[in-house]
Amino acid sequence: MKLKGKALKFEKMNDDINTDYIISGRYKFKIQDPYELAKHVMEDLEPDFYKRVNKGDFIVAGENFGCGSSREQAPMSIKYAGISCVIAKSFARIFYRNCFNLGLPAIEVDTDQFENGDEVEVDLDNGVIVRTGRDLSQHKIKIPPLPKTMQTLLSDGGLVEHFKKHGGFKL
């Protein structure tokens, strides 16, 4: 799987971005349509973030991304807004699991050098990220191998597809 797009970082916050920021309770509880929800993604952290996303872009963040509530609507809004992958220094555990259940890759690498707008290519099969900085210099970052359960969920396209394929857990 090869993914290509721009790195989207948040000016106001890098670490501990919680799932209330990703999708607020005042939308999550009453909107069922994921495309409708996606319009409100990250709204309380950056109004109109949704308009900044081009299909294929990456959210890039620091430590403990997705902490707080277990709401699956959080990775769902990210995915349906057109983000192809979330890259962070570390993830909160329920959010991490939910990403792979939805077929949305979540990658843990040091993101300190990433800047807003960097061109990024993620090659999941070969386990490498190529980041092109503003000065056009290219930087290769090795992706630590994903646990086998995560790899299986991703290659099946998420947990729903996995269950349709196997009728149960085959991890």
Binding site: N18, S24, F29, V160
Partner: protein, 417 residues
């Protein structure tokens, strides 16, 4: 080699000799969803092509987060939930019953030694009665409904030992707020907590649940305590199923052991807008408050209501302030009525609302206005959490909230106790 509580429970439920870091597929004793997460779970269940759940007697959905419904969007989801309940024969706690994390232990669905999942991050609450219980997402819940199992990576364990005793007027909520302030929001990510100390032993089950409830706020997978006589007595009054208490081996291996001295801790406050932004109350005392909340899965139990009522008895909420109280279950509500607690609240000009999550999650029952400061017994104070990103939420114990709404500003409760 010895095992931790987490390693033992996951070994028991997977039939494997599981150690931290292993991936196991484990059988679940109970599965829970609430009205914010079950809609998506039902969609996933249907998309997976399933028609039946594995065992309806092991499944509950609780309508608590927006209960009763505040708008058509939520009503549509509630209707979908009720239809699914009828179709599958699972148990439903409808509006007015209470909060999921109070109902599951209170109604006897979970016992010591169990492995339990819930589509709500505060499912870790039942760790207080020696249950390995953890929060998961909606699609995982659907998979669990179908298979009765879930995969787990066995977590390493962080042991927390509390030394000495809390001062009078300093409660279990202050203990856990202090701890989260020390560990940080990601300080226990992927770890199970084992929580012990003389102060914990002396606490009621209600007070212990407040602590385990907030394990997720430092990123922990579970907030486990051992089952002592108090636990087993409490469980025997609520559950028919046999308890299987699990204790860590003396030679269990821990990632880290941290000790905290409780003797010098003041009442604590988590300032806006993160749960780990914790300070002693003296640093923020005097901050004007417009609204208070006592309730939620963290602090809506009988002991919490009693403490608040004792402070408010014969007095009135400050004229520039309002207090909302949401008992965590109808059982608690009834008991509080019998004890005269509800009468005390109403006479103090408190707004008592239906058992449920109340305004904690921002859907109804008390959304703050722009610029307002709220003091709450809830477990989260994220920006926008209570429905208004332009409001400010401070977290504290029930005693702190009661004292603060009397004065119309953040106030140390110790002068009232």
């Amino acid at each position: 080699m010895g095992k931790t509580i987490a390693e033992k429970i996951l070994s028991n439920h997977s039939g494997k000799d599981a150690k931290a870091g292993d991936i196991v597929i484990a059988n679940l004793d109970y599965m829970m969803g609430q009205d914010g997460t079950s809609g998506v779970a039902i969609d996933s269940f249907n998309n997976m092509g399933a028609k039946k759940v594995i065992d309806p007697s092991k499944i509950s959905i609780v309508i608590d987060h927006s209960s009763p419904s505040p708008n058509i969007g939520v009503s549509t989801i509630h209707k979908k939930i009720r239809a699914f309940v009828n179709q599958t024969g699972i148990n439903l706690y409808d509006i007015g019953c209470g909060v999921c994390h109070q109902l599951l232990p209170e109604q006897g669905h979970v016992v010591p030694g169990d492995l339990v999942i819930g589509a709500d991050s505060h499912t870790c609450t039942y760790g207080a009665i020696n249950v390995f219980s953890t929060g998961i997402g909606s699609t995982d819940l659907a998979a669990a409904w179908i298979s009765g199992k879930l995969w787990f990576k066995v977590p390493e364990t962080l042991k927390l030992i509390y030394k000495n005793k809390l001062q009078k007027g300093v409660f279990s909520k202050d203990l856990i707020l202090y701890t989260i302030g020390q560990l940080g929001a990601g300080g226990a990510t992927y770890l199970a907590l084992e929580i012990e100390g003389k102060e914990i032993d002396d606490m009621s089950i209600d007070a212990r649940m407040t602590i385990s409830n907030m394990a997720i706020e430092c990123g922990a997978k579970a907030g486990l305590m051992k089952a002592d006589k108090k636990t087993l007595d409490w469980v025997s009054k609520h559950a028919k199923r046999k308890a299987n208490p699990i204790e860590a081996d003396k030679d269990a291996i821990y990632k880290e052991i941290k000790e905290f001295d409780l003797a010098m801790i003041e009442p604590q406050i988590a300032k806006p807008h993160t749960v780990d932004n914790v300070v002693p109350i003296s640093e923020v005392a005097g901050t004007p408050i417009q609204m208070g909340l006592i309730g939620t899965c963290t602090n809506g139990r009988l002991e919490d209501l009693r403490i608040a009522a004792n402070i408010l008895k014969g007095k009135k909420v400050h004229k520039d302030c309002r207090l909302i109280v949401a008992p965590s279950s109808k059982t608690i509500f009834l008991e509080a009525i019998k004890e005269g607690i509800i009468e005390t609240f109403i006479n103090a000009n408190v707004a008592v609302v239906t058992p449920g999550c109340g305004p904690c999650v921002g859907t109804h029952n008390g959304v703050p206005a722009d610029g307002e400061n709220v003091i709450s017994t809830a477990n989260r104070n994220f920006k926008g959490r209570m429905g208004n990103p332009s409001a400010f939420i401070y977290l504290g114990s029930p005693a702190t909230v009661a004292a603060s709404v009397l004065e119309g500003k953040i106030a140390d409760p110790r002068k009232y106790l």
